[in-house]
Chain length 220, copies 2
DNA sequence: GAAACCATAATTGTATCCAATATTGATTTA
DNA sequence: TAAATCAATATTGGATACAATTATGGTTTC
């Protein structure tokens, strides 16, 4: 999200489309026509197709055969799976990173939390959310593990946005994040891992127990 | 692998390229030039690019900026991560599927094992390997969980092939598979989960303790 | 009047061509 | 002679044109 420099055009518009989805401009189930999108984003269909494919692999859009792509609409089963996996994998990442945390990592995490306080846009909040977790996990240097976790987080983002659990209760998430960060700073490994678990459980619970806003139920 | 019917051309050649990689025709680190590949597979560069992107998302090739794509060469850290994740996620899938196993699932699993006995080609063995595990996990109906596990399995395949742990010791893997299947048939849930754990540990161990065959160390 | 069938249009996938970027090699200069 | 610079080539990313597939609407037939 920093800038489009050194980034292929397909990646740039993938970010843009992801933002449009997370901000609710494109609602779940809505079909994403290639020609309309390409002219809307002022690009050709070629990079657009690459962007859609990338988003499909990340679970934000669902694409099938020759029928085109639509914004994914996460069902409860998908949300359960995503959080079940995150609850298994993220503690491992945190545990592996714990010995290698530096002040810079904590600073990066704190900066993300501070920025989130004054942010309303769901896509930005989602990004900052991941930035925080990533700051705590990355020192593990387990790139493959982190890549999978990032996928799961980005896929969860859509469900979180739909349930309005990010924008509606930012203070709750923020408090949990701060507690987690403090435990990490203190070097309280078991405490931090426990806090991470409850944080994920809490997020999962909030998503499940909120009625998703009615979306115009695309033609099926 | 059944047939190319109803499959987009990009997907078909993605399968072909994956086969070529797993069978050792394309060695790890080797650059994959688009024009050469496209004329070799008798397709245009457009679907080829989609295939490469798909393979990149699955971890079989690494693509960077404008420099092109190369066959991925899995480092030990990647292998460790993949198996650490599989050891956490696959028991969950098996556990979730356990109550819903039918005779058809067991038959499908057994068929895959039988087919593997008379198979030499690494890519086929890798496919059959996944077919077996998938047969035991799919009744869980947890599609999102299964999709992630499939990614991890396909990414592990390359490392397994490089270490020759599939082709060199098929009988060991086969024995573990049969034991696991028997436990499932008996309804011994805890036993099956334990066997799955040791099976994954064994596979991981075999990969780590074999010297990868020297590959012509592509130009860096 | 309902269902099957065929033609037309809309949309996606593929091939070809052009632009942008990276790599290679020679040439020049210190 | 070695290093830097710049031109020429090779390779990838993107735009446009074409083919294949699917969806849609009307017509026909029972």
């Amino acid at each position: 999200m920093v800038s489009d420099t050194n980034k292929t055009q397909a990646e740039s518009i993938a970010d843009k489309i992801r933002t449009l989805i997370l901000n609710g401009t494109f609602q779940p189930g809505q079909p994403l026509r290639q020609e309309a999108l390409s002219e809307h984003l002022n690009v050709s269909r070629t990079p657009l197709r690459h962007a859609l494919q990338s988003l499909a692999e990340n679970g934000l859009v669902e694409t099938t055969g020759f029928k085109g792509a639509r914004v994914a609409k996460p069902d409860p089963g998908m949300v359960d799976d995503l959080f079940a996996m995150r609850m298994l994998l993220e503690p491992l990442a945190l545990k592996s990173a714990f010995q290698h945390h530096t002040k810079l990592d904590f600073a990066a995490a704190e900066m993300a939390l501070d920025a989130a306080e004054n942010e309303q846009q769901p896509s930005r909040l989602s990004d900052l959310n991941w930035t925080f977790h990533d700051a705590l996990y990355r020192p593990s240097n387990r790139h493959t593990l982190l890549r999978t976790i990032e996928h799961l987080n980005r896929a969860s983002a859509l469900a979180e946005v739909i349930a309005s659990s990010i924008v509606a209760r930012p203070e709750k998430s923020a408090a949990e994040h701060r507690q987690l960060l403090e435990a990490c700073k203190k070097g309280d490994e078991t405490g931090a891992i426990a806090l991470l678990g409850t944080h994920l459980q809490s997020a999962h619970h909030d998503i499940r127990n909120r009625n998703p806003r009615e979306c115009p139920s695309s033609t099926e």
